[in-house]
Symmetry: C2
């Protein structure tokens, strides 16, 4: 055990513990709400969650924590801290600034607004009417602009304040460079692949697949890539997600659709990728402020790595495709492995992000990134957003939604005020490709996959990424594991190679 040297940190510890406990309780309520709670519980349970949230806020924003935090940021006190403690203080300072910058009554009003706004979004999506949602979205955006203004520093742009909440390593300059590459390289590639892929018959994927059998096979897949059922559980919810109480209690959900074989399988692999991250975080830092993943972007890199780089490869399916065919004999008897691999990699311009293939996915994000940037640079009004959305799809995808439901109303994020979140999906996907390239160099990755030995892959990720939690940021991790910081070229190269090979492009 490392001897604790800082008396000040010792005094801070009970506040950190209390905020951890309250946050864990909030997480459990969130899990329960999505997976178990009865239909009518909401109103009364909200009251409980409201009080716990206030207490969480108070456990961190108070005179004592302010005093200790300030002291612990001094050079002299910093010298007494371990690396983990320093990281905790850095994280606390960030959280503190976020929590303290917004007056509590505005924060509460905003939370009430987003809950109403989300319901308005659901209704508008159902009725295919953006105009009904726009007034709520407008208010949400006004709040986000105000909150960003409270926190903006120096030359920082308001949108960057929001971006930094999800991924601190990539601000507008970096994202512009990244998305420029996507625009130049992936858009033409997608058009080319789209034409070739049209001929692939994927009708087998939409036959009837017994849900109980799906449940079982998905559980198998999750265990296959390394999910530890002694430290985690799988449940069901309307939208798949991952949630952890700590590194010994990591939970994922899936959704089973009778007429779609791929949906639940790739969802469970995606969520299991997130889960492995949380399960492999070091015991010494779980239940601390750095006891989760490094960032949204880094987290997404782990889910996308397993979902795309690993599970959409032929090597991954080689040892287990027979098992899949056996589970669904009548449907898959005539579909050989090569056909299946083409099927799971069928790509084309598309309208719905969550159903997008690996290739078109980042273009969906590109569009959202550009729109969010415009919103916070006051270059587009809320009223014009639906039209702007459709124009971007026409420009980049070559197709345009005929309804708002398939267009601007498809995602829930904005209704909750989650601006700046989308880019981390694309960054994560690109980070995954960079890690994949570097791991191909460092280990016989393909052989491991072909022989069904996924343990060394999980162990590598644990030792080089997972165990550090949020002690290092995305670029620090990449530097240490790959020898260089984020470089989007790996991603572009990966997609070009993969699809050129799959579709015999010239």
């Amino acid at each position: 055990m490392i001897k604790r040297m800082s008396k000040t940190f010792e005094k801070l510890q009970p506040y950190l513990d209390k905020s951890m406990a309250l946050q864990t309780a909030r997480n459990l309520f969130e899990w329960d709400n999505q997976t178990a709670a009865p239909f009518e519980a909401g109103e009364y349970t909200s009251k409980v969650i409201g009080i716990l949230s206030d207490e969480y806020m108070k456990s961190l924003v108070n005179d004592d924590v302010r005093k200790y935090l300030k002291k612990l940021q001094d050079k002299k006190e910093q010298d007494e801290l371990t690396e983990t403690e320093k990281a905790i203080i850095k994280e606390l300072a960030k959280t503190y600034e976020q929590l303290e910058s917004i007056p509590p009554e505005e924060y509460r009003a905003f939370n009430e607004l987003t809950s109403i706004s989300n319901r308005a979004w659901m209704k508008a999506k159902k009725n295919n009417n953006y105009e009904d949602f726009a007034p709520y979205l407008k208010k949400v955006i006004e709040y986000k602009k105000k909150f960003a203004a409270y926190r903006v520093k120096g030359k920082q742009k308001p949108y960057e304040v929001l971006l930094s909440d999800y991924e601190e390593c990539f601000m507008i300059d970096e994202l512009d460079i990244f998305f420029d590459k996507v625009k130049k390289e992936i858009i033409p590639l997608l058009q080319e692949v789209g034409k070739k892929a049209e001929t692939i018959d994927k009708s087998y994927n939409y036959l009837s697949y017994d849900v109980e059998q799906q449940r079982e096979f998905c559980k198998y897949l999750s265990g296959y890539i390394g999910f530890d059922f002694n430290r985690g559980v799988i449940a069901e919810s309307a939208h798949p997600f991952t949630l952890q109480l700590h590194n010994h209690d990591v939970r994922i959900t899936d959704r089973y659709i009778e007429n779609n074989l791929e949906s639940a399988m790739f969802s469970i692999i995606h969520e299991s990728g997130h889960a492995l991250y949380e399960m492999n975080i070091d015991d010494a830092i779980t239940q601390t402020m750095v006891g989760g993943g490094a960032s949204m972007g880094m987290h997404e890199s782990q889910s996308r790595f397993y979902e795309n780089n690993i599970a959409r490869s032929k090597e991954f399916w080689e040892p287990i495709y027979d098992k899949l065919v056996k589970a669904y004999k009548t449907n898959l008897a005539t579909i050989d492995l090569d056909h299946f691999i083409l099927g799971i990699n069928k790509a084309a311009p598309s309208l719905i992000r969550t159903e997008a293939d690996e290739l078109s996915y980042c273009i969906h994000i590109l569009i959202r990134y550009e729109l969010e940037k415009m919103i916070f640079a006051e270059e587009v009004s809320v009223e014009e957003l639906s039209k702007a959305w459709n124009q971007k799809y026409q420009e980049y995808m070559g197709i345009s939604p005929s309804t708002d439901t398939e267009g601007i109303l498809q995602d829930t994020h904005w209704s909750w005020g989650e601006f700046g979140y989308f880019p981390s999906y694309a960054i994560g996907t690109a980070v995954a490709a960079q890690l994949y390239a570097c791991m191909m160099d460092k280990m016989p990755l393909s052989d491991y996959l072909k022989t069904g030995n996924l343990t060394p892959i999980r162990d590598f990720l644990r030792e080089h990424i997972h165990k550090f939690g949020a002690v290092k940021n995305t670029n620090e991790i990449l530097k240490d594991v790959c020898g260089e910081e984020f470089n989007a070229d790996y991603y572009i190269k990966y997609l070009k190679n993969k699809y050129t090979k799959l579709y015999h492009l010239s």
Copy 2:
């Protein structure tokens, strides 16, 4: 809306809200632990629960609450309170006294001890060795004696302090009278019935019953008696239980045993009885200190009422027995309703409380009551307890366990320090019989059952018992609904009539 008149109560309210939220969070962790949490989560989650428990304690035991409580107990302030507020203050005073009487470090040490003691009990039970458990039990009892001594008032006996935690209306004098009747009337009846019932063939109950089918039928039964699935859920756990977050979120569990038809069915009806109580508590008092059932005894009366008085009657099964037979055709085709009714009411002296029939059940409690009384009157040592247990069984049941596992080690309660709890099971069962007699007078209960119309029964209980939560105590409720306080004669009469009729006794 009633205008709030007391400024002091207004000031107290935030503390009550906070303690409610923390208690609800603890309840959710408890639920999750029993139904969902992964195997290895315990150690880390305990830390969270420990912190939430400390915060719960602090939210109630502090100078502000002490001050407001004292003020609100004054006559003048009392006049400004509504009946509900008065009940809350009374409940708070009781809880406060409990929490404050015990020094926090002793309370923490005791909680640590019971968690160890419970593990020791599990092991000892498995290994059939009371001696291994005795040292832990001894320490637990020492703590309970100490804690009781802190709270004992006037002529009160230490054991009565413990009794009052579960049911305040019945102290040793009342219980002695009650159990004397049990001894005089039920023991000979059980012996007589036992001999007659031997000939009833119940082997059908132990055939193989498909678990999925059991799950479905039990869900049906629960809904049949009135469980509202919009405000509650059913899950599975090792031991069936009921737990509520508030009146719109009431959860029950069941356990399905392939080779036992009755087990899951009567468990679900029992737990549904508890659940109806919690679901029917008035919206105005849910999430307050009087927003749960009146007492353990009163709660048990509702579960036992449905389990025994209702669901072990022929009238209850008349409209639905066909459905049961249809669900399990091969097993039940030759068992007619009369045979089934004799089966579910087969009675005999027995060794295991949780598997006991309706008739022998209270004798199991009688034995535990007498032993607990002896323990706290220093009339038996922990070392002698196993022998004393076996002697009591021999005396009252006419049979004696051949192992400690089937004897003193069978129940978990003592390992947690839950002394004084058992009597509330018997009291509840007797209260149920009194309510049953009174309802038979007030409504065509048998007709309702025969026609499958259970709504008036549920509505009656809601209007006369459930909705009041803990605003009234057991005797106040009985007085208001039946016109007299607790009277054990109804119970004795009920059992005598029922079994005389069933077995054609003279």
